[in-house]
Each structure stands twice: as structure tokens, then as C-alpha cells.
Symmetry: C2
Subunit: 456 residues, 2 copies
Amino acid sequence: MDSLLDRLRTEIGHSNVLTDPDVTGSYARDMMPLVPAGRPLAVALPLDTAGVQAVVRACAEHGVPVVPRGAGSGLTGAANAVDGCVVLSLAKLDRVLQVDPDDRIAVVQPGVITKHLRDRAAEHDLFYPPDPSSYDWCTIGGNLATNAGGLCCVKYGVTADSVLGLEVVLADGALLRTGRRTVKGVAGYDLTSLFVGSEGTLGVITEATLALRPRPPAPTTLVAAFASAQDAGHAVAEVVRAGLVPSLMEIMDAVSIEAAEAHLRTDLGAGDGTKALLLCQSDAGRCAGDEIAALERLCEKRNALFTHTTDDQAEGTMLLEARRVVLTALEARGVLLVDDVCVPRTKIAELILGCEEISADVGLTIAVVGHAGDGNMHPTIVFSGPSEEDRARQAFDSVLALGLSLGGTVTGEHGIGRLKRDWLAREIGEVGMAVHRSVKQALDPHGVLNPGAVLG
Amino acid sequence: MDSLLDRLRTEIGHSNVLTDPDVTGSYARDMMPLVPAGRPLAVALPLDTAGVQAVVRACAEHGVPVVPRGAGSGLTGAANAVDGCVVLSLAKLDRVLQVDPDDRIAVVQPGVITKHLRDRAAEHDLFYPPDPSSYDWCTIGGNLATNAGGLCCVKYGVTADSVLGLEVVLADGALLRTGRRTVKGVAGYDLTSLFVGSEGTLGVITEATLALRPRPPAPTTLVAAFASAQDAGHAVAEVVRAGLVPSLMEIMDAVSIEAAEAHLRTDLGAGDGTKALLLCQSDAGRCAGDEIAALERLCEKRNALFTHTTDDQAEGTMLLEARRVVLTALEARGVLLVDDVCVPRTKIAELILGCEEISADVGLTIAVVGHAGDGNMHPTIVFSGPSEEDRARQAFDSVLALGLSLGGTVTGEHGIGRLKRDWLAREIGEVGMAVHRSVKQALDPHGVLNPGAVLG
């Protein structure tokens, strides 16, 4: 393997090839504790697209697997090293190449931190919607690889909905351009969408052309407290049925509320007997007041104990902080398994109740938070360490089975990675798996790119 | 081939297999005059998914090509027969299987006429946005195969943006399910987007799960007249830059205006000296008035000769009729070649001016109408018959070259079909073509499905 390392050093520079195991170990896994990580041969940090091509080509010729890596904020082990691989970090391709306010597009490299792009867009009164909860440290490349979502999705869609075109290094090192810079375009197969969400198994994204939106007006915020998750879930269903599209609609169950309150050393003003909260925002400008009032009426119709609205931005941010802080608050109590199922929006109450039953069965805390507006829920299992890991895994799987039984999917926004491969097969069936394998074989016939992710 | 025909008759019923050349000829081509059509061996009209599987399987085993067909409203020859093929018409799979207002989804068969689905959705106060200009006779299956657009796209996106999941018969007759019924989902590769827009070359779509939207309020309409296409194009750029998203924004050039006025035996109230019209709508409900006023101000800033707004629905429909009737009006003057390029929205004025030059060069009328809000323009060449066909084709190609030179794509919403294969290669390059061929090979290794469409 020395010849490979020498070649990598020649191609992308000595200091951009790391081999010290103490260092490479920190590039070997993402944030999901259940998935083991292998020991990389090296970490390569190329500086540009040509460097990425050189790394992929060299590894392909040496038969060494390449594991592409963003910031490592993933929750499925998709970026976990396999033994003897080269971890290909895109961290140094970190430039915003263009923000064009006239055509409302941005051209970016994969190592750009999501928040940085959002800030750059905002300078032009533009908006890049995707906001996964790690948005202040995850990168666009990882967002593209997993088709990340966030709180914005209920109104503004997932990462794929903002992607117009890509530059992709293929498994043989060739450079592919997909898509376009125009709003619409149907020239050939939609390869852009094929690479987005493919978790680095089909190619390495080295540049993306992204659609920006007009920056919406500052939002109005509503918080509604309910005596049961069922009432809150029914309120969500009413909102969908009424044809309302808030710009944000999050749900917190009793465990999440209690954890957030303890962490923030405050009470959320929800009062006694609150077992679920809905947080909603409208960014509809002069119509936001109407929209929030309509949301409030539907919450009251579904027995809200309490509602509160504000167009004060600081107060709105503070209320939202309660939702954003839940995982941090839970981390003080143990190791977290953040699950990720998406169910029809009519089934949210059933999902939360089912999680309560699973929690009682396995004897572990499960906090349910989620993007209620699109049915994407994150039941989060808290366990103390190795002695409880089996039960935690059992709970994790039970949540996935519950999601499927409610007509949902085993992943709304985190992806399959190395964590849910068996569940992918269960969800999409034999023909679906065969087509996946055909596509993988077509684009990466020698299995160089991220082997073991998505497909077994 | 008699054994194949016997088998088809047995599998899907005698009366659903047509072989009379006078009859099959009417299933042999779409609406694009430039693309020749072959003579089909037969037309198969299966009644259900199992019938589609049977037809594909039988043809695959006999090595006979299958050309899937919707209503035949396409404009690229994608549904044109090849000699000796079986045309697989989806016309009899024409049921809306489900409209679920609680989860805002519809499940439909491919033979459903687009307008019929829009009407069914409206019964539940829901909205299926895609509205290609043939929406009252084209079918969902054809819309999916071409990823059709329409006037709605500026605010509501293209067909792909409404698709959650598909049922697809593969080249070997196997049945694949892609996607989901939930709003979000990232389980595996985005096969749904791969099949949408693949023009029947990768599989035959037999069912689609579609996202419906809340039905928007009745629109307010603005018409603005300009002394030049340049002024109108600049007004569009101002609208984009200002962050406005009207629900419709169409442009008509001088030739289109004159043709529509002659056809409707009216004048459009635009007055003398009008060389371009913008038609805009806002469906923002109580904010529509504000939005239309802002659009009007930007048109005036860009030297509109005249503006008129109305929230009278009959008047709004009448104004829009001028846009919708342009192709019909032009048909009275000759054979039409409807081109389809999408350019950055800042380049619309340049595109129209370029088309004027091409028109002068070849000595043929070119009318430019288009979806200005997303840059998708339809320069339409009018020619009298065979003696002018070469010049018409030359103009058609010059428009495509112009679109590419402006940073656009050779097809915004009509697709590649058999018409623009060379242009696809020119737009996406060698690596792009190689990836296309790999994907085609992976999913249809024996080239059974729609050979010659998209790829040569």
C-alpha cells in the first residue's frame, strides 16, 4: 500500500494525506453509536476537484475502497471507515464559488458549512432553506449525500428540492456534470436526483448548483400545549386537512418537554398537565397573522390547553430553542439513538403512542420530537451504556417496524448508511433491491465507492 | 410473429390487441412533424398492471421492441413507433384509484387524463398543479414519462415535484415499487426521479402516488404591454430579483399577440406599438393584491406602455385565453415546430431577440411564447410544407444552439424523444452520455423498451 500512499502524496500534497492512526481515527465514524467503524489506511484531504479525481483514480487502480466524508454529523454510519480504506474528506473544498442574485442560484463546493451558505444567501436577501439540526457544522456535501432535511421541509422541501445540477467524480475518476443552471430542464435522465441521497456510493459530489429562494419575511410563532400526544397529533391532521402550510411545525412529547425545561432551567409556560407541544411558524408576511390565527383555531378545536402567539423575533427564537435543544438536553442522561421514521401526517398520534408502549416494554426512555408538518419523527432512545445497548437496539428496531406498519418509511431524512440496510430491503422488497444493485453495478462496477453503505 | 400476437391476445384479450394497419397507424406517432414513425406490428391495450407485465414479458421473450404510449400529445417523437414494435398504450389503465384529502395524496393509473385528476382533486378543495397546454387530453402517464410542466411551474414546479412513488413494470416484466406515501423519505436511491422523465426507456409506469396541494384561492390577473421584447424580458428579471413568485407569468411576443388577436377576433386592449405582453397571476389570497401591485410597479419601472389588473375570474380567464390560444391560432398559418428551450430568467430578452434574427435569416415566421417566470420558452416556427421543411429544421436547430449559448438547456419540459438525441449529447457531453448508457444497460439490457428514444 506504500505505493498508493506515495501516489496520493504526490497527487494532492504530502500534508493532505494523513496516516497517523490517532489522527485518522477521528475521521473514522459519524455520530451513530450502533455502527462499528473500520480502521482507515489513510485520510485524503484533496484541495480541488482534480485532487478528488486523483484520489479516486488511484484507489480504484489499487483496489482500495474510498469512503467519502463530510463533517461526520451523520446518524447512520454512512461515513464510517471500512478497514484499509481511504477516507476521502471533502473538508478542503470549502468555497462558495458564486451567489447570483439575478438568477437566484449559488454554486458551491461540498465542504461549505450549511450555515455559511445560508448566511451568504441572506446577504443578498436570498434563502437556502435546508436546515438539518447540525446546520451550523454539517456541510453541503453531506447534506447532498444524504438528501438532508430539517425544520424547513414542511414548506420548502428537502435538500434535493434546491439542487439544479452537480459535478460528480465517478468511480473511475471521470468527471460528470449533471443538471443545469436553469429553473427547469428535462434533458435526459434525472441523474442529479440519482446522486443526491446516494450516500457516496455512486460518485463523489465536488460541486453543486443550488436554487435559492427569496428570503421570507420574519416569522410569527405559535406554541400550543396539549394534554396528550393524541390531541397534538389530531391538531396536525386538522392543519393538513385545512390546507394550511406553515413554514415550520414541530412536535415535542412529554419526555422532550421535560428534558428541554430541565436543560434550559425554565418552564416553557405550558403549565401543568401538558403532555405535548406544537410549535408553528408562519412566514407569510402580511398574511402571517391570518395563518397563525387559523392554526391557533385548529389547535383549540383539538383541545389545546393553552396557546400563545408572538411576532417578537427574540421570543420566537427562544420558543424554538426549546425544540432545538432537546437532543443536547437528553445527552446529559445517556447515549442517544436518534431514530428517523416518516409516517403519513394522520398517523403521528399513533406513532407517539406506539413509542410510549415500546418505551414501557424495553424499560428505556424514548423522547419523541419531530417535524410534525411532514410526518418525519425522531423518536430518541436514551440508554446508559453497553449493558443497555441490546435493549436500545431492540427499541430502535421496534420504532422502525412501527413506522412501516403505519404506512411510513424507515428513514425520512437521515438515510440508510450502514445502520438500516436490512430495513431498506424490508421496505423496498426484492425487486427494489435488485434494481439498486443494478444501478450500483452500472456506476461502480468494482465496488470502490463507500462499500457497505446503503447496500450490503 | 404470429406466436407473439396469439400470446398477447391470450394474455390481455383478443379485442385489446390491434393489428389492422389503418388502425395501428393512428397509434404510431405523436404531435412532432419532424420525426418519422415506423410501422408497428401491433398495438396492445392492456387493462391492468398484470396485462402490462404480460405484454412486456412476451415482447422481451420474442425480442420485439415495446413503445409505451400515453395520449400522443408529445412533441419529440418519444412515442413514435419503430418498425415491427408493439405499441403499448396505457389508455385503458384510466382509473383514479384514490384521492385521500387527509394525507393530501392521489393514487392514479397512467391513462388518467390530467384534467380529470385536477377536477377530482378540486372536489376535495385540493390541487394537482401540472398543467401542460394539452392538459385536457394528455394523460398522467405521458406527463410522468416526460416530466411535463406547464403554466403552473413558476410557483408549483414540474410533474416530478408532485410524485411521491411509482409502480413500474421493468424490461423483464418484473414489478417495481418506488418511493412512498409519506411527504419525505430517503430510503435508498431516488428511483422515482430516475423513472420520471425517462420517456419509457427504463420501465413502464403503471401507477403513481401523487402529492396534492391545498387549492389556492382564485387568482388576481395582471396584463402588461411593452414596446419591445427587451423591456418585457427586463421586467421578468426585475420580478425574479425582487423575490416575487407569481403563480403564473407568461410572455407573448409581437407575432404571438397578432396571431391570438386575429384568431380571437378581438384586440387584447394592448394598444398600438405593443410588441410584447406579460401575463401574470397571483393566487396569494388576501396578499394577492399586494403581490400584483408589486408586479405592476416593476413592469412600469421597465417602461410598460400599459397595465391592467383584475380579480374578476371571467376576465382573468379571457386574458389567459390569449396565451393559451397562440398555437391554435398559428396552426391556421402552416405546420408548427414548437421548440422548447429553458434559459436563465435574465436571458429571456436575448432569446427573443435572437429568435427575431433567426426568423429573418431563414425567412420563416417564429412566434415566441413561453413560461417567462421560469425561463422556459417555446419559439414556434411556422412553415408551409415540405418545401420549407429544411429551413424550418435549420431554424429549430438555431434556436437550440441559441438556448445553449445563453446558458440554457435544449429542453425545458418536452423532453428529448427521437428529436433531440444529438442535442442531448451536445448538452451533457461524453461522460454524461456514457452514464446514460450505463443506466439504460442496467435496467434494460436487451433494449426492449422504447429503443431509439433519448439515446440513439
